[in-house]
């Protein structure tokens, strides 16, 4: 049924009194509001969100609808809150009888209870909160009258598992509210049709509206007095110049690629801020209170700049931002373009942005990214099929809501774009895993999670388990985080740090959080207690947050740029560096592998310039060191960047070409994958999402530390005794695509076809020298390291003066 929604006169009047004109794409959203699935692609500042809501407001204007009408889903809690504020204004000014509320992890329990009993007309929420809602027994009643669901920033959600979970949830909602219309709002993307196919119910079509993209942005590289350092990612060298830019603009957003970098940069900025400009910091690990304060100050126009991470990538309305600064190479042109859109939040005005390369090589990458952005060349990676761990969780959520029929659930799942191709066998595997654990050893017959009833429906064996399932809903895999608060009664909550970081602290250590230096006092009931310590130099809090690898398109552009005879647009220091590289060694090429070897600091080094992106370079490091170990070269460790891998060891590599035989590398991958840290990390995520590991338990008992053990042990045990288990298969598949990124290794082998150039240098070459300063070094376990560990143990014994005591001896048994 094609339905058309006209704009009620009250709306026309309201627009007119404000002197606003409705954008063509907003009008079009109204015209086509009857479509079962509709996607709007518009640049930031294009009034996307209002365009998404106009049909709902128009349909609700007469006050006839009872109960929930529209669900709005955004990737960020803050966005849900912000939109509620912005939407309430026109609704109140026009006197519309519409109730609007938000519901996120931050909403109070009493409000959540009330919302279930008496839902508002428009509910703003996140994928996780929505997944929790469909797990309630009363979900059919809550969602019965639902007409529309608006998914905001769908381009961001669709990239990961949160999007997959949301689409599965949509499949369920469709059943509870037949005829539900789906609307997606997206920033500029490389493949609108692929995104639209994820939103629509498979195999139905999705209409796409593309708004006028507006004028091209004004982007350039920031020029600094001091050259960028050889390695590193913080951009601290540019603090003065960044501060100058902040002074010259009204409001500046300063983006960083990781939370830790944002913290360090903010600290440095603060130390250099002689004029006391009001500057704030915002990232996902800060406490709700801290973030809310910064957001409020920003909306009120009280801040001149805000240091932030991806947590501000998405459309919160910050008012008058007139400059975006990106610290560190953007790694991905699509994300750069979307970020830049944050500046000049007015339609049809060009956005202004500055790139600050964090190191010498990033100068080259920034140059390439600028060219790509100007050429409108967006880089996207096609998304794989829907992940099965998310499906397992969805089955548990479905079971929480009440008994279900497996055939009905299967057809519901097949109606989700990402899962359209799933086979019955795959689905049955997931169901069996959720019900019994899915082990070859059928050990849990007595303690099954799901039981099949005589009437053929599945239900939870123990209804109380729904509590634990609900506590573990979601697909966001942050490392385990511990809350940080000020010591003393009612101490202020500051944010959170990784558990591993907290474990490395001893009382008296200092670290940065929310831009302030604090002193670690104690760990009490899983909370890190600190005291203020402004005078001390901080150790740095480490946050998870995978670094995104440089995209394949961008890497190729960099390789092409390196072949140019000269780079007049680059600053002198970087030009000289590149010319020197060409003089003493070679420039890396798209179709060849450049290997440089040299001795340095008592170790033999080999640097492989293969430009496959950080994850693939990391994988290459693991595969190459494995082969070097077999060849008796005693590799000790390696470090990988987006562009190269540097390996060091006790012996010299004299013939690198055989290392790159594709079959050998692939065989190496098979053997290596199982016993690998990357797999263990992926396993942890997959196992938590699928419900093999439960991170949150009701009334977590305060047991001794020895009661908990690492998921690595589970991985090792499962790999040894049940290697074909579903969770291992899913882990492997996801690792290959994500952290292992073997596709990029294959792609590199394909483009270089075994053409290897060896340069034996007498000292580190200009490109390799920068690698020597990189952190994140990965040790390689092997004969070389075992030898060094024995030496280290002997040294400790001697140094402690205990070597002579008791003299335990090594004996053969």
């Amino acid at each position: 049924m094609e339905r058309m929604t006209a704009l009620p006169p009250a709306f026309e009047d309201w627009f007119a009194t404000r002197g606003w004109r409705i954008h063509p794409h907003q009008r079009e959203m109204l015209t086509r509001s009857g479509a079962p699935a509709l996607m709007l692609i518009a640049p930031t500042g294009g009034g996307k969100t209002l365009a998404g809501f106009l049909p709902s407001l128009a349909e609700l204007a007469d006050g006839a609808h009872e109960g929930l009408h529209t669900l709005y889903v955004s990737p960020l809690k803050a966005l849900a809150t912000d939109i509620r504020r912005n939407l309430t204004i026109p609704v109140e000014e026009m006197g519309l009888p519409i109730r609007i509320e938000d519901r996120t992890g931050d909403t109070r329990q009493t409000a959540k209870k009330r919302q279930r009993a008496d839902p508002p007309h428009i509910l703003l929420t996140t994928p996780e909160s929505l997944a929790l809602m469909i797990s309630y027994e009363d979900a059919p009643r809550i969602f019965a009258g639902l007409k529309r669901i608006v998914v905001d920033e769908i381009h961001a959600l669709a990239e990961g598992k949160r999007g997959d979970q949301l689409m599965l949830t949509l499949g369920r909602l469709e059943r509870l509210a037949p005829g539900l219309r789906r609307v997606g709002l997206s920033a500029t993307v490389d493949d609108p049709a692929a995104l639209a196919a994820q939103l629509a119910k498979h195999p139905e079509p999705c209409e796409i509206i593309e708004a006028d993209p507006g004028p091209d942005p004004d982007i350039s590289m920031l020029h600094t007095q001091a050259p960028p350092p050889w390695a590193g990612a913080g951009g601290g060298y540019a603090v003065r110049e960044v501060l100058d830019q902040v002074k010259r603009h009204k409001t500046t957003l300063i983006f960083h690629n990781t939370r830790a970098q944002a913290e360090i940069f903010f600290h440095k900025l603060w130390l250099a801020n002689d004029d006391d400009l009001p500057i704030g910091i915002h990232h996902g690990s800060l406490s709700r209170e801290v973030r809310a304060n910064v957001e409020a100050a920003m909306v009120a126009g009280d801040l001149r700049a805000i240091v932030c991470t991806g947590s501000l990538d998405l459309g919160i309305d910050w008012g008058d931002v007139d400059l975006v600064i990106q610290i560190g190479a953007p790694k991905n042109v699509k994300r750069l373009v979307q970020r830049i859109g944050r500046a000049n939040h007015r339609y049809n005005a060009p956005s202004k942005a500055l790139l600050v390369p964090a190191n010498r090589f990033e100068v080259v990458e920034c140059m390439a990214a600028l060219e790509a952005a100007r050429a409108h060349e967006l880089d996207g990676t096609p998304k794989g099929p829907g992940p099965l761990d998310v499906l397992c969780q969805h089955i548990m959520i479905t079971a929480c809501a009440g008994p279900f029929d497996e055939d009905a659930l299967f057809s519901e799942v097949r109606g989700v774009g990402a899962y359209a191709g799933i086979s019955r066998a795959q689905f049955d595997d997931c169901l069996d895993f959720v019900a019994t654990g899915g082990y070859a050893l059928r050990a849990y017959d007595k303690w099954k999670r799901l039981l099949k009833r005589p009437d053929g429906l599945w239900q939870l064996r123990d209804p109380r388990s729904s509590l634990r399932i609900r506590m573990n809903i979601g697909t966001i895999q942050d490392a385990d985080m511990l809350k940080v608060r000020m010591r003393g009664r009612g101490g202020r909550s500051l944010g959170e740090v990784e558990e591993g970081f907290a474990a490395s602290l001893t009382p008296g250590d200092t670290f940065l959080i929310g831009g302030q230096v604090v002193r670690y006092e104690s760990l009490r009931e899983m909370t890190v207690e600190v005291s203020p310590r402004p005078d001390r130099v901080p150790r740095i809090a480490t946050y998870a947050g995978a670094k995104m690898p440089t995209s394949a398109r961008l890497a190729e552009r960099i390789l092409d740029d390196l072949q140019r005879p000269d780079w007049p647009e680059l600053p002198r220091h970087t030009r000289d560096w590149l010319h020197l590289q060409r003089e003493v060694s070679k420039m890396p090429e798209r179709g060849r592998i450049l290997v440089e070897t040299f001795a340095h600091d008592d170790r033999h080094h080999a640097c492989f310039h293969t430009f496959a992106g950080r994850n693939a370079q990391q994988t290459l490091g693991l595969l190459l060191t494995r082969r070097m170990e077999v060849l008796g070269l005693h590799p000790l460790g390696f470090v990988a960047t987006d562009y190269a891998t540097l390996i060091w060891g006790l012996d010299e590599l004299s013939d690198p070409a055989p290392l790159f035989e594709a079959d050998e590398l692939r065989d190496g991958l098979e053997g290596w994958l199982t016993s690998n840290a990357v797999m263990k990390r992926s396993f942890r995520g997959v196992a938590s999402i699928a419900g093999l590991i439960e991170k949150n338990l009701p009334q977590m008992r305060k047991t001794g530390r020895q009661a908990t053990f690492s998921s690595d042990i589970l991985y090792d045990t499962l790999a040894k005794y049940d290697p074909d288990h579903l969770i291992l298969r899913v882990t492997r598949e996801q690792a290959m695509r994500g952290l292992v990124d073997f596709a990029r290794v294959e792609e590199m082998l394909e483009r270089t076809k075994g053409r290897v150039d060896l340069v034996r240098a007498t000292r580190p070459t200009p490109l390799a020298a920068a690698m020597l300063l990189e952190r994140d070094r990965v040790p390689v376990a092997g004969a070389g390291r075992e030898r060094l560990a024995e030496q280290e143990a002997a040294r400790l014994l001697t140094e402690s003066g205990l070597a002579a005591f008791g003299a335990p001896t090594v004996a053969g048994v």
């Binding site: 530390r705 020895q706 053990f709 045990t717 040894k720 024995e790 280290e792 143990a793 400790l796 048994v813």
Partner: protein, 228 residues
């Protein structure tokens, strides 16, 4: 297999890389904190269904140590089962394997806080046990001398080698690492362990080869040079 001979109270005890301790003079293999049946207990009590293979993994390791040492008797130093019902919950295969290990040799069960009474398997049950100059009990008693215990699951990291379970000993006592597959650990430098360990003291790190290191001095824990 490599072992590390440790002179202790006039006896020689050999620490194996697996975390077991061999006392050749008494033909005895000592292991602690096996936590057999842990996954079944977790499924029964909490609902999570962990890979149910930890008992098999632990028993395979134990069988390999018995083969290598040829020890004629075994002493389990408490928390051999994750709780008293866990022994009954073992699958038939695991149970048969355990019984065959027990029946082939002398077997002593010292009780622990997880398994405070007999678990319904062959072998002798003891609250604690004295053999020659050595006393075996699950939880270390402050001030005891010549005592071997378990309970704490000590672990220790060495720069560039990661953190592994370890045996701790000084002149008066030994604290064994947890031998079971699904066991976590407590840092060897935790206050509970510091309170028990005197000076001088050592740790033997488990691994392919047992590695002897000094017990970290207060304050200087693990802050070595960083270089790989």
């Amino acid at each position: 297999m490599n072992g590390l001979d440790i002179p202790f109270r006039g006896e020689t005890l050999c620490a194996l890389g697996s975390g077991a301790l061999h006392w050749p003079a008494r033909d005895l293999l000592i292991v602690s904190d096996l936590h057999l049946g842990k996954s079944e207990r977790i499924a029964r009590r909490q609902g999570a269904m962990l890979p149910p293979y930890e008992t098999r993994a632990t028993l395979e390791r134990l069988a390999a140590d018995l083969d290598a040492t040829g020890a004629g008797s075994v002493l389990c130093l408490g928390d051999s089962f994750d709780d008293l019902d866990a022994a009954a919950g073992l699958c038939a295969q695991d149970r048969a394997r355990l019984v065959s290990l027990i029946e082939a040799r002398g077997w002593h069960w010292v009780e622990g806080n997880h398994d405070p009474g007999p678990a319904g398997l062959p072998g002798e049950h003891h609250a604690e046990l004295k053999i020659g100059p050595l006393t075996f009990r699950h939880i270390a008693a402050p001030g005891a001398r010549g005592e071997l215990s378990g309970h704490y699951h000590p672990k220790l990291g060495l720069q560039g080698r990661g953190t592994t379970p370890c045996l701790l000993f000084d002149t008066d006592r030994m604290i064994l690492p947890a031998y079971g597959a699904y066991t976590g650990g407590m840092p060897a430098t935790a206050p509970e362990l510091r309170a028990l360990i005197g000076s001088p003291a050592f740790a033997v790190l488990t691994g392919t080869k047992p590695l002897l290191v000094p017990y970290p001095a207060r304050g200087g824990a693990g802050r070595g040079r960083k270089r790989f």
